[in-house]
C-alpha cells in the first residue's frame, strides 16, 4: 500500500488504465464482453472437471435469473443496490480514486435511514420517505468524504482508508444492533433495528395480482434516476467536467485552476452518497429495518461492476444486471441442479482477473520507447 504516489499535491499521480480505460484500443465493449465470455468458458470447463454438466449448470443459471416474471423481479431486486454501488465506485474511478468503501458507505446509509425511518413513525409518507432518503444519502456521503479528506489533506491512500472504514462500520453496526441503542426485538430473533414507519417504506411496484410474492419495490425507479443523475453530473455539469479532468489530467487541471484536493473530497462524498442510497433502498424497500450483516456482498461486486461497465452509465447498468442475474441464478442453480452457487464467485473472479490482465496488451503496445528518454 503505497503513500508515495498519492501524496502529490496536484492530485492522483497515475491511475492504472484498467480503472480508467482511455486508450484507443480499449474503447468500446470488446474487452468486457471478451472477459465475460472467457470467464464463462473457463467456468464451464471447471464445472466439467468437477463432474457436472456445464450446459445444465448454465441453463439453471439462466432460468433462475430470468425464467419467470418472479425470477426477473428477484434479479432486479439484487440489481438495484448493485447498480448504485457500482455508480459509487465508478464516480470515484472517474476522478482517479479507488473507492473500496462502497460496502461501508452502504451500511452507514442504511443505519441512518433505518434510524430516521423508525424515529418518526407517524409522519406521513410524503415527508418521511424523502427524509429517510436524504438521511441515507447524507450518511453515506459523510462517511465517504472522510476518506476523501484524509487523502486530500494528508495524502492517505484511499484504498487503505476505505478498507479500514468498511470494517469499522461493521463492528459499529454489530454494537448498535446487537445490544446497543438501535437494537429492537423482532420475530426472527436476529439482531436488528426497530421497524421503520409505514411512511418510510418504498412500495412494491408490481401488484401481487400480476406477479405473486414479488418484492420489487420503487427503489428500482430510484436506481434509474440515480443512473441518470450519474450521467448528468459527469457529462453535463461543471463539477463533473472538473472531476473527469482531475481523473484524466490532474496536472493540466491544476494549472487551469481546478484544485484536485477539493475535488477529491467532493467526489468521495458523492460516491458515498450513491452507496448510502443503496443502503437506504435496502432498508426502505426490502427489509423495512436494519438487520445486522445484511446485504454484505455488494462492496466487492460493485468494483467488478464498475470495471466491467467501464465506469459508464449504460455499462454499469448492464454489468449490474449481469452480476445480479448470476447471483439470483446461482441460488436456483444450486437448489435445482445441485451445483454450488459458489461457481458464480469463480466466474466473477475470472472476469475481474481478465480485466486486470488487459493491461498486458497495453504494456506491449507501449514498449516502443519514448522521445522523453532522448531529451537528455
Amino acid at each position: 500500500m503505497t503513500l508515495a504516489s498519492s501524496a502529490s499535491p496536484t492530485g492522483p499521480a497515475t491511475a492504472p488504465s484498467v480503472r480508467q480505460p482511455t486508450s484507443q484500443w480499449s474503447q468500446g465493449p470488446a474487452v468486457p464482453v471478451v472477459s465475460v465470455l472467457v470467464a464463462l468458458l473457463l467456468g464451464a470447463i471447471f464445472v466439467l472437471i468437477s463432474g457436472h454438466n456445464p450446459i445444465q449448470a448454465y441453463a439453471a443459471l439462466l432460468f433462475g435469473a430470468f425464467g419467470s416474471p418472479y425470477d426477473i423481479t428477484e434479479t432486479l431486486v439484487i440489481a438495484v443496490p448493485l447498480t448504485l454501488a457500482g455508480l459509487s465506485v465508478a464516480v470515484a474511478f472517474r476522478t482517479g480514486l479507488f473507492n473500496i468503501g462502497a460496502q461501508g458507505q452502504l451500511f452507514v446509509g442504511a443505519l441512518a435511514a433505518g434510524w430516521t425511518g423508525a424515529q418518526f413513525p407517524d409522519l406521513p409518507g410524503v415527508v418521511l420517505l424523502p427524509l429517510t432518503l436524504v438521511s441515507g444519502v447524507l450518511g453515506g456521503a459523510a462517511y465517504g468524504a472522510i476518506a476523501g479528506w484524509l487523502k486530500a489533506t494528508r495524502g492517505v491512500n484511499e484504498v487503505i482508508t476505505t478498507i479500514m472504514q468498511n470494517y469499522i462500520v461493521v463492528f459499529v453496526m454489530h454494537w448498535l444492533l446487537q445490544d446497543g441503542p438501535m437494537s429492537a426485538p423482532n420475530a426472527l430473533g436476529t439482531p436488528a433495528s426497530s421497524p421503520i414507519g409505514a411512511g418510510a417504506i418504498l412500495p412494491i411496484i408490481i401488484p401481487n395480482s400480476l406477479v405473486p410474492l414479488s418484492r420489487l419495490h420503487a427503489g428500482v425507479l430510484l436506481a434509474v434516476i440515480a443512473v441518470v443523475v450519474f450521467w448528468f453530473l459527469l457529462w453535463r455539469t461543471s463539477l463533473g467536467y472538473e472531476l473527469r479532468a482531475v481523473g484524466l489530467g490532474a496536472r493540466a487541471a491544476a494549472q487551469a485552476g481546478i484544485d484536485p484536493r477539493r475535488r477529491m473530497i467532493m467526489v468521495m462524498g458523492i460516491a458515498g452518497g450513491f452507496a448510502g442510497l443503496a443502503g437506504m433502498i435496502q432498508v426502505s424497500g426490502l427489509f423495512h429495518r436494519v438487520y445486522d450483516g445484511f446485504s454484505s456482498g455488494f462492496g466487492f461486486d460493485a468494483i467488478a461492476v464498475a470495471l466491467l461497465g467501464k465506469n459508464s452509465p449504460i455499462g454499469i447498468t448492464l454489468a449490474a444486471l449481469l452480476f445480479a442475474a448470476f447471483q439470483r441464478g446461482g441460488t436456483i442453480m444450486q437448489s435445482n441442479a445441485g451445483i454450488s452457487s459458489h461457481l458464480i464467485e469463480i466466474v466473477e473472479a475470472i472476469v475481474l482477473f481478465v480485466i486486470a490482465a488487459e493491461t498486458i496488451v497495453r504494456a506491449i503496445a507501449s514498449r516502443r520507447g519514448t522521445p522523453a528518454e532522448a531529451l537528455a
Binding site: 500500500m1 482508508t161 469499522i168
Partner: protein, 314 residues
C-alpha cells in the same frame, strides 16, 4: 469488572491464539510489500491453505503431506498474482481482489462438492500443541504460552527468521533495495522481476500457514470463508507495524488482544450499561488509519510499493 477479565492468563492465551493467523498474513505482507508488490490476495492464500490442507489430510492421512499441499495451494495463488503484477504489470489491487474472490469461491465450491452439507470429516490429523515442560510449569507464563499450538511457535520463529533475513542478509538487502528504488537495483545488475516473484510467492506460502493454523490446528475442520477477513487484518497489522516482521508481530498481538478482550468482556457491565465490546474490535482499524495518516508516528511504505516497474529504454 475484574482484572482477570482484562489481563488474566486466559485472556492473554486467547490473544496469542487469535493473533497467530493475523501474524502469518502480516508477515507475508511484509515480504511482498518490501519488494514493492502490493498483495491483497493474502486472504485468498490463507483460505487456500486452510482448505487444501484439510483435503490433503483427509485423503492421505499424513500431516506433513497435508501441510506441504497447503503451502503449495497458497503459493500457487500468489504465483498467479505475481504473474499478473510483475510480468504483466496489471493493477495490483484489482488482481489481488480477483484472486481473493477466486480463492473464496473455489474453496467453497470444492467444499460443497467434496463434503456437501455434512462438513469435513472428523478425526483428521491436526497440528498438535507444543507443550514445553519447563515453561508450561511456570505459574502465569505457563498458562499463556506453555500450551499453545506448535504453529504459534513456528510463527515466533518465522518472525525472528524474517527479521534477520530482511535486515541482516544479502538477499534481504537486495529485496529492500528493489522495493525502495528498483531502478537503482536494476542498474547494479539485480534482477528486479525475479526478486519480486520470489517475494510474492513466499508471501503466499506464509499466509497459507495461517490458514493451516485455522483449519488444522484450532478446529480440525474447514468451513466456508473461515478466514473471515483475517488476511485483511493482517495487512492492517503490517501497516501498523511499519512493514517490519517484529512490528507486524507486535501489531498482530495488539489486534489479537483486542479480539480476545471483546470475547472476555462480553456480558460485563460498565455501571448500568453493557460494555460495548463490538466497538473494541474497531480499534485496530482506527489505529491503522491514524498511523497511516501520520497522527500516530510515521508509517511509511517502501517507496516503490504498488508501482509496476518498467525497465527503461531498449
Amino acid at each position: 469488572m475484574s482484572l482477570e477479565v482484562l489481563i488474566g492468563a486466559g485472556v492473554l492465551a486467547t490473544a496469542l491464539r487469535l493473533a497467530t493467523p493475523i501474524a502469518f498474513a502480516a508477515l507475508g505482507g511484509v515480504i511482498t510489500e518490501r519488494s514493492g508488490v502490493t498483495n491483497i490476495a493474502l486472504e485468498g492464500s490463507m483460505i487456500m491453505g486452510a482448505f487444501f490442507g484439510i483435503v490433503a489430510a483427509d485423503k492421505t492421512g499424513s500431516l506433513p503431506i497435508a501441510i506441504a499441499v497447503a503451502l503449495l495451494a497458497g503459493l500457487g495463488l500468489a504465483a498467479l498474482h505475481a504473474l499478473a503484477s510483475v510480468t504483466f504489470r496489471a493493477d495490483q489491487i484489482v488482481s489481488g481482489m480477483a484472486l481473493n474472490i477466486l480463492a473464496l469461491g473455489l474453496t467453497s465450491y470444492l467444499n460443497y462438492e467434496l463434503y456437501g452439507t455434512t462438513g469435513t470429516p472428523a478425526d483428521l490429523p491436526t497440528v498438535p500443541p507444543l507443550v514445553i515442560p519447563g515453561i508450561s510449569a511456570l505459574p502465569f507464563v505457563g498458562e499463556v504460552i506453555g500450551k499453545q499450538n506448535a504453529l504459534v511457535w513456528v510463527m515466533f520463529v518465522l518472525v525472528v527468521v524474517l527479521q534477520w533475513f530482511l535486515f541482516r542478509t544479502v538477499p534481504g538487502l537486495r529485496l529492500r533495495a528493489v522495493g525502495e528504488h528498483p531502478r537503482a537495483a536494476d542498474t547494479v545488475g539485480i534482477d528486479v522481476r525475479r526478486t519480486r516473484y520470489w517475494a510474492v510467492i513466499a508471501s503466499g506460502a506464509i499466509a497459507a500457514l495461517g490458514g493451516v493454523f485455522l483449519s488444522m490446528a484450532i478446529s480440525g475442520s474447514f468451513t466456508d470463508n473461515m478466514t473471515n477477513g483475517r488476511g485483511f487484518i493482517g495487512l492492517a497489522a503490517m501497516i501498523f507495524g511499519r512493514w517490519t516482521p517484529v512490528g507486524a508481530l507486535v501489531a498482530s498481538l495488539i489486534f489479537g488482544y483486542g479480539d480476545a478482550l471483546s470475547v472476555s468482556l462480553q456480558g460485563q457491565s460498565l455501571g448500568d450499561l453493557r460494555f460495548p465490546v463490538q466497538l473494541l474490535s474497531t480499534i485496530p482499524y482506527v489505529f491503522t488509519i491514524l498511523a497511516v495518516a501520520g497522527f500516530v508516528g510515521r508509517s511509511r511504505a517502501p517507496a516503490a510499493d504498488g508501482l509496476p516497474y518498467e525497465s527503461e529504454g531498449h
